[in-house]
Symmetry: C2
Subunit: 323 residues, 2 copies
C-alpha cells in the first residue's frame, strides 16, 4: 500500500488535471475516507478561479463533500470503525482518492443510496437544513419558494420541504426543469424566463419562506411576495450582491432577511448540524421521501468536464465525480 | 355622571384642541379606563398629519397608551375590577378622559410608579421586548447598540438590556443626552454629531444586536459593526426607508435584518406580548432596575405643546399628557 494518491490539481486559468499527492493522515478526531464519489459544488468553481480561498488549515485540493469507506482513524475517534460507509462534509480535499473529515462532520451513508447519491447529500442537505429549517423555521402548512428549483440545492429543498408538510413553489429556466421540480413535489414551478414569479405568487397568496441564490435582481420582488412574518434567506448571489431594501415594508410585514454560508461555519457548528440532519433528514431518506437528483457523473480524471457542465448551467440536480 | 368627556381633536394642519366627545362604551372583553396620563408617541404626530391612518375599528382620537383606573367592564372581562389601577396599550383614543382597552392589552400599573410613569411604559416596553428580546434574542453577555439612546424607546432599551445582563452602547445627539444614557447603564454613549459610531464600535469589537430608528443612512454602517450572527432590528426610519444592502456581508457573517411595528400586530399578539412583559419586565420595574425617564408632562389641554416638543427633537425620555 502506497502513501501516494491521485487527486485533482487546479490553478487559475488552467484546466483541472490529475496529480499524485501524498495521502493525508488523520489528526485527532479525524477520519481518513477512501473516496468513492465526490460532489461538485459552485464554490469549487469560485475557489478554482482564485476568488474563494480555502479557510485556514483546509487542504488546497477542491471538494467539499464525499462518500466512501473509513480507511484510517485518527486519535480519539470513537464513532467510526474501519470500513464504515460514510458521507461527509469536508473543509476541502474531496477531489481525491483519499480525504480527511472530522468525525463529527461524517454521517452513515444511507442504506438505500449509492455512493454517488450519498456524496451528493452533505452540501445540499446541510445547507437546506441550516437555512430553510433553522434560520427560516419553515413549518408544516407554510409555503416555501425555492429559486433555482432544479439545482442540487433546489431539488433537495423541494423534497425536504414537502417531507415537512410545506407547500412548495419553485422557479426554473426551462420546461424540463419545471417538470422536474413538479415531479419532486412542487405545487407549481414557474419559468422565470417567460413568467413573472412575483405576479404568479401574489395570485397564490404569497409565501412564508424564500430560499434565494440569485441575489440582487430578485430582492425587491422577494420582499413583495412574502407574507406577514416572512423570511428571506440568501445562500448565494449568482447575479449580484448589492440591492436596495425598503425598511418600511420590512417593518410593516415584520419580515426577516438573513443568509449564510456553510463553509465558514466553525467545526462545532458543522458537527451540531450533522446531528440535526441525521435526526431529521436521514429518516426522510430512509422512507424514500428525499433522494438526491443526480444530473451526471464524471470520473475523477474528467473533473474538467464536470466543471464545464456546471459552468454552462444546463444541469439539473447534482454533478458528481466518481473515484 | 355625564356621558360626555373631554378629548383632544385633531385635523391635518390645524392645532390640537380640546373637544367634547361621547364617552366610549366597552365591548366584549374590553375595559373602560378613566385616563390619568397618556403617553405621546411619534406615530401620533404622523397620524395627525394624515399619513398613518388608524387601523380599522380604532378610534380617530390620538393616543396609543394610557394609565388610569378601570371605570367600566365589558361583557366577559374576568381579570379586572372597577378601580383597578392599570396601564394599557390601546388601538387609539388615549388623548381623552376615558379610553377603551382590550383586557388582555392592560397590565397592573406597577406599584413604585406614578400614573405619569405608568403611562410611559406600554409602547416602549412592548416595543423593546418584542424587538430586542424576541426578534433580536439578546442574551446575557451580548452587546447591544441602541440608536437614539435618549428617546423614550432608547432609555427603556438601555435599562432593559442592562437588567438582562447585556453590554449596552448608545448614540445620542448632545453631551447631556450622552450623560443620560450612561447614567442609565450604557457602557459608552457616542455623540453621532461629532463621532463616527462605526469607528468607535469597531474598536469595541462590534455588537450583537442593533435597535435602529434612524433608517437608511445607518444601514451599511450597522451591517459593518455587527458581529457574526448579529441582528439588526428596525422600529422606525426617521431619516429614510430605502437603503442598499450587501448580501455577501449578510451571508458571510450570517446576519439578520428584521423589524416591526407594534400597532399593526393583531390583538392576540398584543395580549401575548403583554403576558411576556408582565412576566419578564414587571419584576425588573419592581426591583428598580427599569424606570421610565420622563422628559416632561403637559395637561391634556396643552397637547399642542407636547407635540411641538416632540417635533423639535430636543426631548430626552418620554413626553406624557396628564388628564
Amino acid at each position: 500500500m502506497s502513501d501516494a494518491m491521485r487527486a485533482v490539481a487546479h490553478a487559475p486559468g488552467a484546466p483541472l488535471t490529475l496529480a499524485t499527492l501524498p495521502r493525508p493522515r488523520p489528526g485527532e478526531g479525524e477520519i481518513l475516507i477512501r473516496v468513492r464519489a465526490a460532489g461538485v459544488n459552485r464554490p469549487d468553481l469560485i475557489q478554482r478561479a482564485g476568488l474563494y480561498p480555502p479557510p485556514p488549515g483546509a487542504p488546497e485540493t477542491l471538494g467539499l463533500e464525499v462518500a466512501g469507506e473509513v480507511a484510517a482513524l485518527g486519535a480519539g475517534v470513537s464513532r467510526w470503525r474501519l470500513g464504515d460507509q460514510v458521507c461527509a462534509l469536508l473543509g476541502g480535499g474531496g477531489y481525491a482518492e483519499y480525504a480527511i473529515a472530522h468525525e463529527g462532520a461524517a454521517l452513515p451513508a444511507p442504506a438505500p443510496l449509492s455512493f454517488t447519491e450519498a456524496a451528493a447529500l452533505p452540501e445540499t442537505v446541510f445547507t437546506v437544513w441550516a437555512n430553510v429549517f433553522e434560520s427560516g423555521a419553515l413549518k408544516n402548512g407554510e409555503a416555501l419558494l425555492v429559486h433555482g428549483g432544479a439545482s442540487g440545492i433546489g431539488t433537495t429543498a423541494i423534497q425536504m420541504a414537502r417531507a415537512a408538510g410545506a407547500v412548495v413553489y419553485a422557479t426554473a429556466g426551462d420546461a424540463e426543469k419545471q417538470a422536474l421540480c413538479e415531479r419532486l413535489g412542487a405545487r407549481r414551478a414557474i419559468n422565470y424566463r417567460s413568467e413573472d414569479f412575483e405576479a404568479v405568487l401574489k395570485d397564490e397568496g404569497g409565501v412564508d419562506v424564500i430560499l434565494d441564490m440569485v441575489g440582487a435582481p430578485y430582492l425587491q420582488k422577494n420582499l413583495n411576495i412574502l407574507k406577514e412574518r416572512g423570511r428571506l434567506i440568501y445562500i448565494a448571489f449568482l447575479q449580484g450582491a448589492k440591492g436596495e431594501i425598503d425598511l418600511m415594508r420590512i417593518m410593516l410585514k415584520r419580515l426577516t432577511i438573513t443568509g449564510s454560508t456553510l463553509r465558514a461555519r466553525p467545526l462545532a457548528e458543522k458537527a451540531r448540524l450533522a446531528r440535526e440532519v441525521e435526526n431529521h433528514v436521514w429518516p426522510w431518506i430512509a422512507a424514500g421521501k428525499v433522494r438526491p437528483v443526480i444530473d451526471s457523473t464524471f470520473p475523477l480524471a474528467q473533473a474538467e468536464g464536470a466543471h464545464a457542465r456546471m459552468q454552462a448551467g444546463t444541469h439539473a440536480g447534482k454533478i458528481v465525480l466518481t473515484v
